[in-house]
Symmetry: C2
Subunit: 330 residues, 2 copies
């Protein structure tokens, strides 16, 4: 089943069940008012949501309506935890290579992960607000999973069973703020503004054999200002699968239901498939020709991130966002 | 008024109003079921909660009961954001000095802040679970504020007006994991397990002239295994006040109501007042005698963190926690 949240009914939105074709939807308020509430008690709510999804598929769900993705918030408009990995180590290696520094070999065995802000995730068509183009505005196409309660110290294999939903996301990054910020030693903060999500998150069974329990074997397509920017496969060159990423996140803490775990920018070693962020293309340009040519995003630029199944059908719906100038109050 | 949350009624607890003496309480369910719900609509709920606090003070609140801090969760059992500063730069300077490295001068003007995990805050008497004493278990006594909605790009002076509640907290740290983690460059994750909070968070007016709008001018008292460990004043040597910390957190993002902003370990230059964490004492020992003597916490160790007013009355109630061994599943 596919789940989304209408921008209605409060800060956490209103939970809806969406059909496979992303054409029609129905409010799930009689099961759970919000996706977080559904995740809080997933064993009870999931079968009821599934029954609603089946009724919707059979055109037997009273109150169903045509889906308008512009009316959607992120599936979880706010979450209690956002733990983002950097699981395509080939990407990290490229960045280091462009800087002329060696990558520690431990990066192949010990995942990189940062704690992200999750208080205000944004919807698939929400604008990317930035105060200044000089911040170095970039998109990052990623895969994300949403888990139920995960006990501290869980093993990677057991962690897979806690994956309840899968989605795609745009981990907006401010590249020119990140450089100075990481140098301070406390990780990302200013460099990672609000993250945007696809219209829906879905249960892994919707992915068929493209999902092996911990990896999504399909290309993630990024399109910048109407031109394809990249379509790397999300299972290729994935150094750490989602079982490993969840286990890493849970090493010294329990993860509460509704925690979102991200893959980091989807990246393949094969340059011909392109990139899921501008920074990586700039790194490849630097390695190839000595200098980065592609600029970061400017006000008015548009990014589309999507994944389609083997029949060409959009799986999660598209993230389609425009960058706009933000003027602070006062 | 003073607010807390009973471990009842679900993951977000049940909101209660607590009297000034921390002796009696009353459920606030008719105003808001949880503290997060109250913060989501503070302009409406705050006056009603205040009326309830006045009724409780006058012994006219039906259903009031004797407060048992053992029954309390953190005031926000889970929050959507936890942004922790390191605002006592004297502490950072000491740590660097012990390592023999210079601190960048920018640290005096540009706050250090990390994104913390907020999905499972723990209550004042909850145990500190750790898998291994070798992780280097430490406490960190801090001041925290809880804000309402803060617009991106706000100025420090204007940010002060968004402080709705003040509390104290124990930002538990795993020192021996932090070293390797920070070297990876993505900031804290494993090194910062669940944070514990005092029994109550309170509106700033409860602090009288000890609160100047952005700083809490009282000592924070830490007691390790029954012996006072330190009582540094939270307004002394505070390089960045809460207006500045909130503005820093909001530089590239809006902060959603219920965001918790922390001061970092309370620390004074004056060594005679002691420390709010073991790491700082070890650093001072290293500077004084060439080696750290005080060990990190062991299973069974107890930490108490509290702040008392000028009449000796506990303000937030005490954080009192024991370190216990955690055994992972399977």
């Amino acid at each position: 089943m596919k789940l989304g949240s209408l921008k209605q009914g409060g800060r956490d939105g209103t939970l809806i069940v969406v059909d496979r074709a992303l054409k029609r939807a129905v409010r799930a308020s009689n099961v759970a008012p919000t996706l977080q509430k559904a995740l809080d008690d997933w064993a009870t709510t999931a079968p009821k949501l599934r029954a609603l999804a089946e009724a919707l598929a059979d055109d037997k769900a009273p109150g169903s309506f045509a889906l308008d993705t512009g009316a959607l918030a992120a599936p979880l408009p706010r979450a209690f935890q956002w733990a983002d990995g950097s699981a395509y180590v080939v990407h990290v290696e490229l960045v280091r290579k462009a800087r002329g520094v060696e990558m520690p070999p431990s990066f192949w065995t010990d995942p990189l992960m940062y704690q992200g802000g999750s208080d205000s995730f944004i919807g698939p068509n929400d604008e990317i607000e930035a105060g200044d183009e000089a911040w170095g505005i970039d998109f990052e196409g990623e895969i994300g999973v949403i888990v139920d309660d995960v006990p501290m110290g869980i093993a990677p294999e057991a962690a897979r069973r806690h994956i309840k939903l899968v989605t795609i996301l745009n981990d907006v990054s401010l590249r020119n703020l990140i450089v100075g910020e990481l140098a301070k030693g406390f990780g990302f903060f200013h460099g990672k503004p609000a993250t945007a999500f696809a219209p829906v998150a879905l249960t892994p069974d919707e992915l068929g054999d493209a999902w092996d329990g911990a990896r999504l074997n399909l290309p993630l397509i990024s399109t910048l200002n109407g031109k394809e920017f990249g379509h790397p496969n999300a299972a290729t060159d994935l150094t750490f699968d989602f079982g490993q990423l969840i286990a890493h996140a849970a090493r010294t803490r329990h993860l509460e239901a509704g925690t979102v775990v991200g893959s980091g920018t989807v990246a393949n070693r094969d340059a011909s498939v392109g990139c899921s962020c501008i920074a990586e293309r700039r790194v490849r340009e630097t390695i190839d020709s000595g200098k980065a040519v592609t600029p970061f995003m400017r006000f008015g630029d548009r990014i589309r991130i999507e994944m389609v199944d083997r029949a060409g059908q959009s799986i999660f719906g598209a993230i389609e966002q425009k960058v706009v100038r933000y003027t602070p109050p006062g």
